[in-house]
């Protein structure tokens, strides 16, 4: 298993995927620097930045870019019959799928950390003198990361199914755009998987919960859709004619 992951990493290492991860902090810097929300009466100027930055980052950027990463991770296999070559090696398809998924999780975690750095930089450049609220920030970073679990499972599935970059991206867009509206709704918002990154990164959420959203919602919506998409993708890959 570890060997499959390290082989996956080896293939990616030389591609420009690492540059792709750098887009996250750059986008973070852009949103952080360009937005001025004015005084929203937050206790701490950091909170102001976090509310603004996390909104655009989590609603649009994070779901879209994680889909792109999922396609990148299947790119070599889609070129010139790479699937044939990979699956003719003594590995099970299950391991290949799982390795790709785990690697994606790691990449997105790194991306979240880079985004964290950009939050800090924005604050420094903005001259915020209050202490960095690490206890809250790390929750949004980890929470946002966890919320992408189901999304990348689905994206990995469609990226395996389609050769082109455009098709998985189109599907991603179709699910991601409505988020902007759906999160406004108290009735539907909590149940929409693509809304979860925002909800889990929104520091204005319910304060008494550990991740700004109730545990049962995390388990049910994130966990439930994760299982659905992961198992769906896993079974699809098992059956896919190469």
């Amino acid at each position: 298993m570890i060997s499959v992951i390290s082989s996956e990493w080896y293939k990616l290492r030389k591609s420009k995927v690492l540059l792709l991860l750098l887009v996250a902090p750059l986008v973070g810097l852009f949103i952080g620097m360009s937005s001025s929300l004015g005084d929203i009466g937050a206790i701490n100027p950091w909170y102001e930045k976090l509310v603004m930055m996390n909104f655009t980052y989590a609603v649009l950027f994070l779901p879209l870019i994680s889909g792109v990463l999922a396609s990148v991770i299947c790119r070599y296999e889609h070129q010139k019959g790479g699937w044939k070559q990979l699956l003719a090696l003594p590995v099970t398809r299950g391991k290949v799928f799982l390795s790709k998924y785990v690697l994606l999780l790691l990449l997105i975690f790194v991306m979240q950390l880079l985004y964290l750095v950009s939050i800090y930089l924005v604050g420094m450049i903005g001259g915020i003198t209050e202490p960095f609220p690490m206890d809250i920030v790390w929750k949004t970073i980890v929470g946002g990361w966890m919320a992408t679990f189901p999304l990348i499972a689905l994206q990995l599935w469609v990226s395996i199914a389609f050769k082109s970059f455009a098709a998985p991206f189109a599907i991603n867009v179709i699910f991601t755009l409505p988020t902007i509206l759906v999160i406004n709704s108290e009735r539907f918002g909590p149940y929409y998987p693509w809304g979860q990154p925002f909800l889990m990164m929104n520091i204005g959420g319910s304060a008494e919960d550990f991740f700004f959203v109730p545990w049962d919602q995390i388990l049910m919506v994130v966990g439930g859709s994760f299982l659905l998409f992961f198992i769906g993708g896993y079974l699809y890959f098992q059956r896919k004619a190469i």
Binding site: K16, F61, S164, F169, V173
Partner: protein, 236 residues
Amino acid sequence: MIFPLIQSDFLKIKRKGMWLLCLIGPFGVVALQMVNYGVRKDYLFEQMDDRWLYYLLNINTFTPLAIVLGIVILTSFMSSIEDETNAWKQLVALPVSKRSVYLSKFTVISCILFLSSVLLFLFVFGYGLTLGLGEDIPYLRLMEYSFLPFFAALPVLGLQLWVATISKNQAIPVTLGVIGVIFAYSAPLLPDWMIWKWPALSNDWGHAYINALLGIGFGVLLYLLGMVDFKRRDVK
């Protein structure tokens, strides 16, 4: 000279789902407002005296995003059709100029996007009528919000088509597209010179058609730059 190429490009996009996207885009934009108005019609009606205008503004929060993302998807699709088996070499070895090869791709995508705008107009108008937004229908505004974003987005089309045709790895244009949609979403915060702001139709002068004119001008410019660069490159 160019028409056979365009016909041929239309033939190539068969069964790729691009016509479906052409429909989904405008339908999605209106469907989101169907949900929005379906859930909280009374609240939304209170927001502004001119209900039609408020409805159009609501529509226009999504139109620029849909257009920018639509452009990203269509341009990437278009070049992946040629990339997949490196059909560029076969296409360019035909007796056609590389300039017209590029122009044809640009034209085909423009046609699809324009058709989307027509559909957007019909859907917005149709759903607007059922909502009971008032007697005097602002036809001019309706036209503006349906068609001007298309013209204002032409520079984005020029840029994305350029990057998509020259990139071996479609992750590059798609990532650029993701950045672009973040820009489009943050339009109110952007300076007027940024092309991603234009489809939102807002500017300091307060005239939407300025965005469209700028769009056509810079769209042509970026198209020419892309074409010259495409012509200059060796085909692998």
